[in-house]
């Protein structure tokens, strides 16, 4: 097998296992209160981490760059107007504009 084929097969198998483990182990169960309480807070924790790492980091170092400005502009728009479409479009436009400078 070629290296790309091995990488694709390996990534598929492991990703599928990661995504299956929760539903198989916990599916259809009654939620204990502590589990519900943690799951409610999982969205803010994960979303904030995703936004922070994508907006403020390049690979393994922290960096303020064009996409930082774009995401900040998008955040301002959704906070003021509530429109997710306007937020995403402006974020891309500002990022592209700053990058073109």
């Amino acid at each position: 097998m070629s290296t790309p084929a091995i990488v694709i097969a390996g990534c598929c198998a492991i990703t599928a296992a990661i995504k299956a483990v929760g539903p198989v182990a916990l599916g259809g169960r009654e939620l204990p209160t502590w589990f519900t309480s943690v799951v409610i807070l999982l969205s803010p924790a994960l979303l904030a981490a995703l936004v922070a790492t994508q907006a403020f980091a390049q690979g393994d170092h922290l960096a303020l760059d064009a996409d930082t400005a774009g995401v900040a502009a998008g955040g301002l728009v959704i906070w003021r107007t509530g429109s997710i479409i306007a937020c995403v479009v402006l974020a891309a436009a500002v990022t592209a504009a700053v990058r073109a400078l």
Binding site: T3, P23, L41, L46, A93, A97, R99
Partner: protein, 203 residues
């Protein structure tokens, strides 16, 4: 095509793995001359954040184990966050529907890039890389209704940023998910119980 991935292999990769950041991580390692083992390990770390997501949606899925395992494959960042009802449960139909749309866009986007990428130029010159974090930002604002949620978001972001320079990609976001353990506090649990009783759903 970079890294010895043919256009077809890149499209197949998208169609099956369906997680952009993990694809890029593993392809760049192969491109830099790293082995298949290192590439798969890097992709596994990038996708490790799906572990807490998968555990969170698990109880909301109906059907037998095989069916639930198949539904679990639709978990991706955006649709996972969108399908959260905010009470610890998830709307499985919304999750699967949103993922189906994202899936079609992801695979077709990869096909366009793999076949005509040379003529289109660098997608980052259109600012396309800002779309996902901006979208996540929008979803995040929706989640920040309580003071506790705002604190957890700040903690999650701080953990991730501290870890970026010192851990491999993927680890910062996985460890940041531990900020949600604030939910184990007595007051957080008491509020959940209170709300469930108010909604007349004794569990």
């Amino acid at each position: 095509m970079e890294a010895g991935f043919s256009p077809l292999a890149a499209i197949v990769f998208s169609a099956i793995v369906f997680a952009g950041s993990a694809q890029f991580a593993s392809i760049s390692i192969v491109g830099a001359g790293g082995g298949a083992g290192a590439a798969v390990a890097a992709a596994t770390l990038m996708n490790s954040r799906f572990l807490p997501m998968s555990a969170a949606v698990g109880p909301s899925f109906s059907g037998g184990p095989l069916k639930r395992a198949a539904k679990g494959q639709t978990v991706v960042d955006a649709s996972w966050a969108m399908s959260s009802r905010g009470d610890g449960t998830f709307d499985e139909h919304l999750l699967i529907g949103a993922s189906a749309i994202a899936y079609a866009m992801c695979v077709s986007g990869t096909a366009v890039g793999a076949i005509w990428g040379d003529k289109l130029g660098d997608p980052s010159s259109f600012g396309l890389d800002a779309i996902f974090p901006a979208f996540f930002f929008g979803l995040l604002l929706n989640e920040l209704r309580s003071r506790r949620a705002r604190g957890v978001a700040a903690l999650g972001a701080a953990i991730a940023l501290v870890l970026v320079p010192i851990t491999p990609p993927g680890v910062p976001v996985l460890v940041a998910s531990l900020a949600s353990l604030v939910g184990l506090s007595r007051r957080a649990r008491a509020e959940v119980l209170e709300r469930q009783e108010a909604e007349g759903e004794p569990r």
